[in-house]
């Protein structure tokens, strides 16, 4: 290590601060730092940034005062979900743009991007179709539609979408789940559909699902009554039947 290689030393500083260097590496970096003002300046930046990040992580992980609720979770990067980490809990999410937010009076109408217009149009079509189907008690070419909802991205890219339609079928319920533009789950992973009761967090697995396409599940009518939302999770194919805590899409069914 020489003064002519400051970038190499800078790259070692985060590992130095985290205690991830060997004894020999630590001593070599220390020797360089003592004679290199440029890297000393780098060290100041690294200390400030690392300290800031540690403070942020500690604040987010502070325990909740209200019992039964986990601390605010860290956000796993969407391209590499931290599935195996048992302490990883779903990140806090809010609806992308709830109705009440749009109703706040402002100066003139809000301007939406083309993507937002497209999403709003798609949602309007789903809702309108649901209203028509519910009003008529049937779908255009099939059994009566009892319920339906749009599936909105949670930990999926904004462009991903889905829809769920519940129809009656001789005492049972056919739950048809359609997804579009979910990313490839990657090797060793798959998407799974769950029925969810948001109030109690009770969940029932229904089966695996493709990133884009349509799958139908049959559920007894009595069982279906205990759930009011549909959740799509990203699961590791490791034999663990529990929900991975990585929810990619979710939709709330209309109360019947």
């Amino acid at each position: 290590m020489t003064y002519a290689e400051p970038a190499h030393i800078a790259d070692e500083l985060p590992a130095l601060l985290a205690g991830e260097l060997t004894r020999e590496q630590t001593l070599a970096v220390a020797a360089h730092l003592r004679r290199c003002p440029e890297c000393q300046e780098e060290l100041v930046s690294m200390v400030v940034a690392a300290g800031t990040l540690r403070a942020a992580a500690r604040a987010e992980q502070a325990p909740a005062a209200w019992p039964g609720f986990p601390p605010l979770a860290s956000t796993p990067p969407s391209s590499a979900p931290v599935l195996e980490n048992p302490e990883n809990v779903p990140p806090e999410t809010v609806p992308a743009s709830p109705d009440w937010l749009r109703r706040i009076p402002r100066r003139g109408p809000a301007r939406w991007s083309p993507r937002q217009r497209l999403v709003a149009l798609a949602a309007a079509v789903v809702i309108a179709a649901g209203a028509v189907a519910a009003g008529l008690g049937l779908s255009a070419s099939g059994p009566p539609v009892l319920n339906q909802a749009a599936l909105r991205p949670l930990q999926a890219p904004a462009g991903a979408s889905g829809a769920v339609t519940v129809t009656a079928a001789s005492g049972a319920r056919q739950v048809q789940v359609t997804t579009a533009d979910l990313p490839d789950p990657g090797q060793g992973h798959f998407y799974e559909v769950w029925l969810l009761d948001p109030a109690t967090l009770k969940m029932m697995p229904m089966g695996a699902l493709a990133p884009s396409g349509q799958t139908t599940f049959a559920v007894a009518a009595g069982l279906m009554a205990g759930y009011s939302a549909v959740d799509i999770s990203l699961q590791a194919n490791n034999g663990n039947p529990a929900h991975s805590a990585v929810s990619v899409l979710r939709g709330t069914l209309r109360a019947n």
Binding site: V48, A49, L53, A55, A62, E92, R106
Partner: protein, 176 residues
């Protein structure tokens, strides 16, 4: 890539019609995470809504030269206190003490800072952000990050190093 955090507050003061939604999308999850530490679960979304309604109503009181996040979390804390005061039935004394006392004020400030950090990370290149999030929020070593992402250790070192340098610049350049 999103705008820097500070202009959100400035545009809010200026009455920019899109700033509130941007503010909600950027900070809504963090504020909700703060609220659900203190507010009973059925009330959380109502208090979240009240908080952002207050942000819009009180935007004239925001000093664009000051940091936006502490102002936002102060509103959230005030709304959470109002919610507990209005609530009928038993409210845990420890929850009220934690929220209203000095510790509650400090937690709001720390979470406001954490929200700033998250907003700064959102401005960084995705590869640097990913490496930093795994290292500092996922608590993985650089070697574990390299294995998880399937990239050389040297690449991880470079991404974390550049990301930290950029984060320090972003954080030190912000208003007091």
């Amino acid at each position: 890539m999103s705008d820097p955090p500070a202009p959100v507050g400035e545009r809010l003061v200026a009455g920019d019609e899109r700033a509130l939604e941007e503010c909600y999308q950027r900070y809504g999850p963090a504020v909700r995470g703060y609220l659900r530490r203190f507010v009973p679960p059925p009330d959380v979304d109502d208090v979240l809504q009240d908080t952002f309604l207050d942000v819009w109503r009180c935007r004239g009181q925001l000093d664009p030269g000051r940091r936006f996040e502490p102002w936002l979390f102060a509103i959230a804390r005030r709304r959470a206190i109002d919610s507990l005061r209005r609530r009928r039935g038993v409210v845990d004394v420890a929850v009220v003490r934690d929220l209203m006392g000095e510790d509650g004020d400090q937690l709001a400030e720390q979470l406001a800072w954490a929200a700033e950090v998250r907003a700064a990370l959102a401005q960084m290149p995705a590869e640097q952000r990913e490496a930093i999030e795994l290292a500092y929020f996922g608590q993985l070593t650089q070697r574990e990050i390299a294995e998880r992402l399937g990239i050389p250790l040297g690449t991880v070192k470079a991404r974390v190093s550049r990301g930290l340098r950029r984060l320090a610049t972003l954080m030190e350049g912000r208003a007091l």
